[in-house]
């Protein structure tokens, strides 16, 4: 057990730190083109798609290096690269399951963000039970005719392409009849509507597909292999966010401490209030534990372990922590924590919240409610942990009983 960075990793960190300090944009990026340009700058410097094999334009970096780069990015408060889903998992899906033509056609433009990608998985009626999805893909000879509705499509409004799960065979068991396609978002029959969240912003979209086309050549894997493909844990972008996430929490903690110095209670700064101190100490401990746990996961990845079901522990841990964390921030800050506009300069958050958006404490508080729902709710994670990590017997469930 040795938690020191290796000399190579330390050198890499120093280099990344210096690069981000020099290059991070001074002004807020407003347009898509500005963000694309920044993405491209990072890509050219080797900080995007780091884990991709070199033959596909990546640098085959270790999980540790990916984590370091992401961490330095968070430390410098740098805007995130765009096309995150494309780089993070759609590209890798194509690398693993795609044809040579698909790789040729799509991969490089994902890395450069020349083409933007989104994910077309969730549907209004299939939340935790994704396999119950209803979007149909009917075989029409040279293409599939796609009809259905998707939801929670991040970046759908700026996407050129999407990775689509659709039911190609309604006649077989629900997990078997699903196929996976690369899907042109810029065609007639695709309508993208913004989906406003309780934060007031619209990071997501609804996507309506009416007699749209998925080309035969854009089928990923075999027909009916979609569910299996969607379940694969993908291998290239692993360590990425683990440390950066905690760095963002820590940055919010610093702002919280600043605010606690400026706001008074009983004639003294909040920071001198023992009850506030007890809360700060508690939440800081929890935050540090997230960091240690992230290091531990990273260490396993570094040794080539597959995160597998254990990643459910990580997801459960940080998303539940994040919810408690921002609740506690608002508890400490009282009404100051609820101001979204017109408040005192010194009590606003004004750093990247975990969503990567500059905003208020209230925004971070609201956004944290999503973490325990998306990408498998906490309930689903606990099921997975119980069944696949602890080996507890499967629950008796209607769909299983029906099958039996």
């Amino acid at each position: 057990m040795d938690l020191n960075l290796s000399p190579e990793d330390r050198a890499f960190r120093d280099q990344a730190r210096a690069w981000f300090q020099r290059n991070v944009p001074r002004a807020e990026l407003k347009t898509l083109e500005e963000r694309r340009a920044w993405h491209r700058t990072m890509y050219d410097a080797g900080y995007v798609g780091m884990g991709w094999p070199t033959e596909y334009g990546g640098r085959g970096a270790t999980p540790m290096q990916q984590a370091i780069a992401a961490d330095e990015m968070a430390r410098a408060n740098a805007p995130a690269p765009i096309n995150g889903l494309g780089v993070g998992f759609i590209g890798p899906t194509i690398i693993i399951h795609g044809t040579p033509e698909q790789k040729q056609r799509y991969l490089r433009k994902i890395l450069t963000a020349e083409e933007m990608w989104c994910q077309l998985y969730s549907e209004p009626n299939s939340g935790s039970d994704l396999a119950s999805l209803r979007t149909r893909a009917e075989d029409r000879g040279d293409h599939f005719l796609v009809n259905g509705q998707k939801i929670w499509t991040s970046g759908g409004h700026i996407a050129d392409w999407g990775i689509l799960l659709a039911r190609s065979d309604p006649g077989v068991a629900k997990h078997k009849g699903i196929s996976c396609f690369l899907f042109d978002m810029r065609q007639p029959g695709v309508e993208v509507r913004p989906l406003k969240q309780i934060t007031g912003s619209s990071e997501f979209n609804e996507v309506f597909m009416t007699n749209a086309r998925a080309e035969k050549r854009d089928l990923i894997g075999r027909l009916g292999q979609g569910w299996e493909i969607a379940q694969t844990t993908l291998g290239f972008e692993r360590g990425g966010n683990s440390m950066a996430r905690v760095t963002r929490y820590a940055s919010a903690f610093d702002r919280l401490v600043d605010a606690a110095k400026k706001i008074e209670r009983g004639g003294k700064p909040l920071l001198e209030d023992p009850v506030v101190r007890a809360k700060l100490g508690n939440v800081y401990a929890e935050m540090e534990v997230q960091r240690y746990a992230a290091l531990r996961v990273l260490s396993a990845l570094q040794k080539g372990a597959s995160p597998g079901a254990a990643s459910s522990i990580t997801k459960l841990s940080y998303s539940e922590f994040e919810k408690r964390y921002y609740e506690l921030c608002l508890e400490i800050l009282g009404p100051y924590g609820q101001v979204t506009d017109g408040g005192l300069e010194e009590t606003t958050l004004d750093v990247d919240s975990s969503s990567g958006v500059r905003s208020s404490w209230a925004y971070a508080f609201l956004w944290a409610r999503a973490g325990t729902i998306y990408s498998g709710s906490s309930e689903i994670q606990k099921n997975v942990i119980g069944e696949r990590v602890l080996g507890l017997p499967k629950e008796i469930r209607a769909d299983r009983v029906a099958k039996a």
Binding site: K196, G267, P335
Partner: protein
Amino acid sequence: MDFSFSSDQQLLKNSARAFLDEHVKPAQVRLLWDDPRGESEALWKEMAQLGWLGLALPEDAGGSALGLVETAILQEELGRAACPSPYLSTVLAAMAIDRFGSPAQKSRWLPAVAGGGARATVALMERALDWSPQSIETRAEERGGKVALSGVKQFVPWAHVADVILVPALSGSTPAVYVVEASAPGVSVTPLTTLDPGTRVAQVTLDGAAVAAEAKLPADALAFLLQRGAVGAAAEMLGAARRCLDMAVEYAKVREQFGQPIGSFQAIRHKCAEMLLEVENSHAATYYAAWALASGAEDGALAASVAKSYVSDASRKVCGDAIQVHGGIGFTWEYDLHLYFKRAKALEPLYGDAEHHRELIVRRVAS
């Protein structure tokens, strides 16, 4: 001993529910969220006609001389509707004037409030995150028969629509609560944008604002305002929590995943059971406190602090869990759940936060 509502109280509750279900639907709430003023003059007039504004005010002021339990019943329903309205702050200020004010103050303000002609509020916070009289920095200085108030009050509910603001201030080292007309020179109001657009707050700056020397209530009014404000806020939070619970249970009955309603999964049903427990306990806490204050029971002040601190935590948990039960849809703006979630959250730090009330409890029970 009877903890249930009397038939009159139940009637009041039912009619309030019916009125708000009809006239303050979520769509109306959303319109008011987008409204610069944030509340509806028409609704206010209707509340006056329904007798809600004068509910706890004397009959000679046009009120019904009912008590805090009835007020809490209405407040619970207003919370349940997430109704954007200066009801709580107005009724609170009016009750203080009724209890502590001079005949002139009463006749100036009480009929106006009961009739829907005036809105009121109370300015309990300053820059410090504190509700103790010790934290008052606003000064009241005598200037030729008048008093000039100077200071800044923070997070004053609905100050931008108030006709009268109760302002705690120090004259020398003596605190009192001044009855300030919002239109007086030297009073300026800066609205803030916050998490819940249905609970408007503003900063009130008093720059030598002039009030008549006799336009004040004794310092006792401070504790009165904090206690009754606490119970009123608890009632609204209770209403919001009950609504969230109802929505979560209904959703859990119909939403299917893996071939069965999600309410048949223990994770969801147990969460709903815990939510019910919190809601029922919050009901007991809120109405016990309302009754205790109204009836002059010796533990009235204690019960108010118990209610505010308990219901703050409980309603945050219940409303948050309701989002979790709903999953993604509960996180969308179009779904109504967040109206109630935000309402409960907005009331947490008003009229004393849980921490403040816990300290008040300990002062009473562990001396």
